[in-house]
């Protein structure tokens, strides 16, 4: 049962960091007292919903209202009712809140309705009939002519592919695909909006990751100043990226209805609506051409990354950036060219999901490494060890890795613990004989940049404020949200440690844009490293001020609360406001993708142990070993929770979770058909944390949120390949696809496809 085996090279000096605290909101969650959006009692609130397009592409020529329904009993909002701009304020602003005329995807909102209750709402919706002229949609990303963003990253002799190859070098080519994936937070999208009050303020409460994103979107929609849009995050039942940008749409819809109905309006998606219209992971196609020498050293790489962005830009450009930057994997290579593009189709827009492009490109490079290992008869572990990035090496963007590189440790450790180091990969299948089930082991190795890509953090300038309240407790005010990952406990540990206080001396203000500064969004594995770093600075500053004042008055080591109250009594300044400052020496060129793509990287290695039924090709993932360098585990149990939970999402991505489309509609639009892993599908997790501290993070911490999403799929695919001998170049590797691949392999005799 004991799974935590940390390399404890720094601990001991610290009182709270590294020691598990009870989640501050934990008791409310386990007793059912925690208030999620649907739980909030709002007297007089109506419920809102949308009339949506039934086609992937078309022209809206009008809307018919069936007179059999009395529309005076409801409120209807169309594009003309939008006081501000009809736009979802994000990167490109090409997406309308309500369709004007041109329909670009299935489920696009055309009209909003609010009613006193759900039955009346559904009745009203069923009597509204949009007139749509359907047009031929573009549904194949490989045939899309419209590019949202294209980029090129070059290192060394990027044009190597055009030159004659060295005689002793071998060229490997492979194309890899990943399908979409649904976030499947268990609490569907939900927001409540109140009409603009006498003070001109619009209030929205909801289930969301980024209150300040919603604030910005509301201000544009309602035509009010941002400070007049007040957004409060309620307890949020999971996000995983799915509540990064989409809640802006839910909130704006609710606010428009509340504005016109002059009463509060709840917009709470039913699961079907949530699955049918909200963004999911970008489908990908990645092609690798890799030049290696006889020893398997990577000489040159040429990588092409293609993502399906869906109908609108949303976050696709930044998903592409992260995906492309991670496309080489954690490997050293002198000559590289990466071309990336994300294109428009008439699919429901794809968006943020844990990993943000990296799980797709990580799958591709790890499968390519296995392809090379198999062809050269080099053990997959050995091949990775020969090529892995080390301190002093340069990444594809020209970033020199100066510290906190746990690559060698995690790789060696996971291989040793799982027995992969002594495993004859892809040879066990020959030994397996005629048993109906075969076992396989597969390795993956990965890294993930913590924080926003490139100059993102510098432009964001996240802020944190703390204030010593009259009761001697320090209140932490940040726009970062607790969505299950443990922000609250992590902040308490950092604040208490930096203040020299007890956890009880700290409380976390709930994210309310009226009370907390903009810390930047809760995304990109940045909350602990970036916002936690600001918090530590603020707390040290306050601690220093209190200490300085106390020298004149009382004894030094009285309990924090006592010292704090004395400090207040003597008129000490109670508030500290901190703005993020990028570490010195960080440079980034957004045009050429040169420089420090991320301040630092988390490192991980997974080994999956699977059993596959040779007749049905059903895969059972038995065990997943993970070794992960997180810099510093501020809350080790929470970190393990992130790794186990993220890894299971990755295991689902590998072989279970199917998201397919037909005519631009998701076919899995109910929970009866949209499958995620259950407790029976989950492997036994065996996690080990490593701590190679990062000097720019609080107590050495880096990011961990997304990292575990990167490794699971390639590890499982590799294990299936080990068991069945067939090359797996697409996930999810469903039984149907595996049976097809086995049949193809038999006809072509031999597992390695051309």
């Amino acid at each position: 049962m004991q799974r935590r085996r940390r390399e404890d090279n720094l601990c001991g000096m610290l009182a709270h960091v590294g020691r598990d605290l009870e989640r501050p909101e934990g008791r409310a969650k386990v007793t059912g007292r925690a208030i999620y959006t649907a739980d909030l009692a709002v007297p007089g609130a109506w419920v809102g919903g949308a009339v949506r397009s039934s086609v992937a592409r078309g022209r809206l020529s009008g809307i018919d209202f069936d007179p059999a329904f009395d529309f005076s009993s409801v409120t209807i909002v169309g594009p003309a009712d939008i006081p501000g701009e009809n736009v979802v304020a994000l990167i490109e602003e090409d997406q309308p809140l309500l369709c004007r005329e041109s329909i670009e995807h299935f489920g696009e909102p055309l009209l909003l309705v609010a009613a006193p209750d759900r039955a009346t709402l559904l009745e009203a919706l069923s009597h509204i009939h949009p007139r749509i002229e359907a047009r031929e949609p573009v549904l194949d990303m490989e045939r899309s002519a419209r590019v949202f963003k294209a980029l090129v990253i070059e290192k060394g002799d990027a044009d190597w592919i055009a030159r004659p190859l060295a005689t002793d070098a071998r060229l490997f080519e492979g194309t890899y695909r990943t399908d979409s994936q649904e976030q499947l937070y268990i609490e569907p999208q939900a927001c409540i909006a109140w009409p603009v009050d006498g003070d001109g303020t619009c209030l929205v409460k909801g289930s969301l990751q980024c209150p300040h994103y919603v604030q910005k979107a509301l201000a544009r929609t309602l035509g009010i100043a941002p400070e007049k849009a007040r957004v409060v995050q309620l307890e949020t039942g999971g996000g995983f990226g799915g509540k990064e940008d989409y809640p802006s749409i839910v909130a704006c819809h609710a606010a428009l209805l509340a504005h016109k109905a002059r009463r509060p309006v709840k917009v709470i998606y039913e699961r079907h609506e949530d699955l049918a219209v909200t963004p999911k992971r970008h489908p990908s196609r990645v092609t690798h051409r890799t030049l290696v020498d006889r020893e398997g050293r990577l000489l040159a790489m040429d990588i092409d990354v293609l993502l399906d962005g869906g109908a609108y830009t949303t976050l696709s450009p930044v998903v592409l950036s992260r995906g492309a930057i991670h496309a080489t994997g954690p490997y050293r290579c002198a000559d590289v060219r990466i071309r990336g593009r994300v294109v428009a189709t008439n699919h429901v827009p794809y968006g943020a999901f844990r990993g943000f492009g990296a799980p797709q490109t990580c799958f591709a490079i790890e499968r390519q490494m296995d392809r090379i290992a198999r062809a050269l008869s080099i053990h997959p572990l050995e091949l990775r060890q020969r090529n892995m990035l080390r301190i002093g090496d340069t990444t594809v963007t020209g970033q020199v890795l100066r510290e906190s590189v746990g690559a060698a440790d995690v790789l060696e450790d996971v291989a040793k613990r799982s027995g992969f180091d002594a495993h004859e990969w892809c040879e066990s299948q020959a030994r397996a004989g005629d048993t109906s089930k075969r076992r396989g082991l597969g390795l993956s190795f990965f890294f993930h940049g913590a924080g926003f890509t490139g100059s993102g953090e510098e432009m964001l300038r996240g802020q944190v404020e703390i204030e010593l309240a009259a009761d001697g407790v320090v209140e932490v005010r940040a726009g970062s949200t607790e969505i299950g990952q443990g922000t609250n406990a992590m902040f308490v540990a950092i604040a208490a440690e930096a203040l020299g206080a007890a956890p009880d001396d700290v409380r976390i203000a709930s994210p309310d844009t009226g009370r907390v500064p903009n810390s930047g969004p809760t995304v990109a594995s940045r909350t602990c490293m970036v916002v936690g770093g600001c918090l530590a600075r603020a707390c040290r500053e306050l601690g220093t001020r209190i200490g300085a004042r106390m020298h004149d008055t009382s004894g030094e080591r009285a309990p924090f609360r006592e010292r704090a109250l004395l400090y207040l009594a003597t008129g000490g300044d109670a508030r500290v406001h901190v703005t993020y400052e990028p570490p010195s020496g960080i440079t980034w060129d957004d045009v050429h993708y040169r420089g420090d793509a991320y301040p630092v990287y988390g490192w991980g290695a997974d080994v999956a142990e699977i059993e596959v039924d040779v007749d049905t090709c059903e895969v059972d993932v038995l065990r997943l070993y993970s070794s992960v360098d997180v810099g510093r585990a501020i809350q080790p149990m929470l970190v393990e929770g992130q790794i186990e939970g993220g890894s299971l999402q990755a295991v689902g991505f590998a072989h279970l979770e199917v998201v397919s489309t037909r005519d631009g509609r998701f076919e899995q639009d109910r929970l009866a058909t949209c499958v995620i892993p259950t407790s029976l599908d989950a492997p036994k997790f065996d996690v080990k944390l490593f701590e190679h501290p990062y000097s720019g993070g609080p107590f050495g911490a880096k990011g961990v949120g997304e990292l575990p999403m990167d490794g699971g799929a390639p590890a499982v695919a590799s294990a299936i390949e080990d068991a069945l001998g067939i090359h797996i170049d697409r996930v999810p590797a469903t039984p149907e696809r595996l049976l097809d691949a086995c049949a193809r392999a038999q006809t072509t005799r031999g597992g390695e496809p051309a």
Binding site: T31, G32, I186, E187, T678
Partner: protein, 166 residues
């Protein structure tokens, strides 16, 4: 929020015990139990994740057995003893969930905890051993997207230790 079925529905008086208190509800008899709990009685600890019996977030105990309150019309549980996350008798499971890190976003947690109660009670009643495999089977109808289930299973086994002694 009323479901469409009850737009013109007749109301009926339905008596049941909820968390130890005798309740009389005047509701359409086909109203879902979850709506009665959440809206009539204000017991919002029971969560709705899908409304079609797939996620298990709405699990409550009816005469000790776990049922999905989104699939059960209230008339079917007349004169029964309904227990929700707000009831007594869950403390040891709740503490175990906190201690092992089994609750992350918390939305599946009430359903997980009520299901755990039903599972452990059933094992005690039938004299079957509480094993990790048995716990995984018992909780297979309750979806969690945060934890990977590892710590939830830990919590179930940990509860057993505290309730029965080592």
């Amino acid at each position: 929020m009323r479901s469409p079925i009850e737009v013109d529905g007749e109301f009926a008086d339905i008596t049941l015990r909820v968390n130890g208190i005798e309740r009389e509800l005047c509701v359409p008899p086909l109203r879902r139990l979850i709506d009665c709990l959440r809206e009539e009685l204000g017991l919002t600890g029971t969560k709705e994740g899908c409304g079609e019996g797939e996620c298990g977030a709405c699990t409550v105990l009816v005469d000790g057995a776990a049922i999905l309150s989104c699939l059960v019309p209230v008339c079917q549980v007349e004169h029964t003893d309904v227990r929700t996350i707000e009831s007594d008798g869950l403390d040891s499971i709740q503490c175990a969930f906190l201690k092992t890190g089994a609750a992350q976003c918390g939305i599946c947690t009430p359903g997980m905890i009520t299901m755990t109660r039903a599972f452990l009670d059933e094992c005690t009643r039938d004299g079957t051993p509480v094993t990790e495999d048995a716990a995984r089977i018992a909780l297979a109808g309750n979806l969690c997207r945060c934890t990977g289930y590892e710590k939830i299973i830990d919590a179930v086994l940990h509860t057993l230790e505290t309730e029965r002694g080592p």
